[in-house]
């Protein structure tokens, strides 16, 4: 049993180390070579168009599910006026980034791992090196950056559609006035909330991109090897995302707190020195 745990831990750390080293290589390539702008743009467009329908559908339904659930609870406490804000806050902060990144992991992560893995096992990557090109720069980097960009773009689109969907569901199924529903947004959702959601999407995007590129790029052993790379990429991505969610949530919570205290402190200092009228806090 301990043997098993030790092996599992060692595999986990080994993978993590491999991914970290590979990502450092990608970063060094990024800063060391001329940008590959058109290719990055092309890949981002491909990913967005490939995933947009899935994201929009998932967005609407996730929003709808949350509204129905929150409504059930809030009704008991006669607090339905908070439904819109609570629902949107949950979507922006947590559910949106998580769902989008799971979808991207399943769709684009798997696709990238399979594509790079096939290029590896059919010697295309070796051939590229032999023709004097750097495969990390030519094929990995554009995909890597495109996945990160796409996850933020898709999060934005997904959130808009899912908030719209929630409003409709709240109006039609829960009998709430749409203006009242939207009216509670500002109380729960501010610029910082949206920034937190975007930061999370960025982090998960890095995870999806880093893990799938790494697993694909290092695949070996023919079609079976590619299959294994794809499966492992999906498993590791989802695992790392939930772990990262816990960590980033806590860090962002902490930063929010720091931000509040700093703001309050600054205002108090300004008031004490007579720069602004005090007592407003």
């Amino acid at each position: 049993m301990t043997d098993f745990a030790a092996r599992a831990l060692s595999t986990f750390l080994h993978e993590l180390g491999g991914i970290a080293i590979f990502n450092i290589r990608i970063a060094r390539t990024y800063f060391g070579t001329a940008g590959n702008g058109p290719e990055i743009f092309r890949q981002t467009a491909i990913i967005c168009t490939r995933s947009i329908t899935t994201v929009l559908f998932a967005g609407v339904f996730v929003g709808a599910i949350l509204v129905v659930q929150f409504n059930l609870m809030l009704k008991q406490y006669d607090a339905q006026m908070y439904l819109g804000g609570l629902n949107t806050s949950a979507l922006v902060r947590e559910v949106g980034p998580l769902i989008i990144s799971f979808l991207l992991a399943g769709k684009i992560g798997a696709f990238t791992a399979a594509e790079l893995g096939t290029m590896r096992v059919t010697d295309q990557i070796d051939a590229m090196e032999c023709l004097g090109a750097n495969p990390v720069q030519r094929i990995v980097l554009p995909r890597f950056i495109a996945i990160i960009l796409a996850s933020v773009i898709l999060l934005g689109l997904g959130l808009v559609i899912s908030i719209a969907g929630s409003t409709i569901v709240a109006t039609v199924f829960c009998g709430i006035n749409p203006l009242r529903f939207a009216g509670s947004f500002p109380r729960f959702v501010g610029v910082w909330t949206v920034a937190c959601g975007m930061i999370k999407a960025l982090v998960y995007g890095v995870i999806v991109a880093g893990v799938s590129c790494y697993k694909g790029y290092t695949a070996s052993g023919g079609a079976r090897g590619v299959g294994r790379a794809v499966t492992l990429a999906a498993v590791y991505t989802n695992l790392y995302i939930v772990i990262a969610d816990f960590i980033t949530s806590n860090i962002l919570e902490f930063l929010t707190e720091v931000w509040r205290i700093a703001l309050a402190g600054a205002l108090a200092w300004l008031a004490a020195h007579g720069w602004i009228a005090g007592g407003g806090l």
Binding site: D126, E129, C130, L131, G132, N134
Partner: protein, 283 residues
């Protein structure tokens, strides 16, 4: 300007593929590496361009010591070498034109010169320009092989490393590719290493032939010397040519006849028959 292996040893897990392998090409020569499937021919070629690092030993391409270079330093050396992979390794998301032009893009040719060079190498491998906008998956395996040949020779590398360039091609194209390899070496002074199981084209094309066995060199010499060799493995390969039904009737004069004595001994030792019977059949 040669490719030189010094005491190269390589194992995968517990399987020793190359043990203490040393050889060196001569300027502008065509060296064939022949050996049974799985002896490490492809592994040897990949060592030369630094795609595989040896466990010990050193490899030189010209004056560059490949084994001591890192990834960035290897790039200019790789541009000197053209490698043709056993499984074509064409970029399957690019069309044939982009595949062939890939190695030319970094040379700073303008687009007209690029297109001209692409159609030039395309005709060298006897393909017509109709294939240029197709994807690799739309071509037959033999055509893909020729495209990969074209892609590799397009930047005119100083060294060419062929991994089974003619496997899966018909005899006419095989001959054409044989003369292409010879032509490149004679006209441009390209040094070529050709990996193959095909002893027949080796005998007709090579300047020297090297037989790999058990991770080392079983025989190395000019086609003439190889024909005379009494090494059992060499004889086995030579016999393969002559055992095929059409041998002796249509192809080059029977090789074993030139070395009849040793071939007889070999047949008696291995197959327990009398080669004279076979000579009868041939007539």
């Amino acid at each position: 300007m040669s490719i030189r292996f010094e005491n190269v040893t390589k194992s995968f897990l517990d399987r020793k593929v190359l043990s203490d392998l040393s050889f060196s090409t001569r300027d502008g020569e065509i060296l064939y590496i022949i050996g049974k499937s799985g002896v490490g021919k492809s592994v040897t070629l990949k060592h030369a361009v630094g795609l595989i690092k040896p466990d010990s030993g050193r490899i030189f391409v010209g004056s560059h010591e490949v084994t001591s270079l890192n990834r960035e330093e290897l790039m200019p050396v790789r541009r000197l070498c053209g490698m043709i992979f056993q499984q074509t390794a064409l970029f399957d998301s690019m069309n044939i034109f982009d595949n062939i032009a890939y190695g030319l893009r970094s040379t700073g040719l303008d687009s007209d010169a690029l297109a001209a060079r692409v159609s030039e190498v395309l005709s060298l491998v006897q393909l017509d320009s109709g294939v240029l906008d197709k994807l690799p998956c739309d071509l037959s395996f033999g055509m893909q092989k020729r495209v990969s040949l074209a892609r590799t020779i397009a930047p005119s590398p100083a060294y060419l490393l062929f991994d089974e360039p003619t496997t899966g091609l018909d005899p006419i194209i095989t001959n054409a590719i044989g003369s292409l390899i010879t032509g490149l070496s004679r006209q441009l002074g390209t040094t070529s290493i050709v990996v193959s199981h095909d002893m027949e084209s080796a005998l007709s094309t090579a300047d020297r032939i090297m037989l790999l066995d058990n991770g080392g060199i079983a025989a190395l010499g000019t086609p003439g010397e190889i024909r005379q060799s009494t090494n059992p493995l060499v004889m086995e390969f030579l016999a393969e040519i002559n055992d095929t039904p059409e041998a002796g009737t249509s192809r080059t004069p029977c090789i074993w006849r030139q070395d009849e004595q040793s071939y007889r001994e070999y047949r008696r030792a291995i197959h327990h028959d009398d080669p004279l019977d076979i000579e009868e059949v041939d007539k």
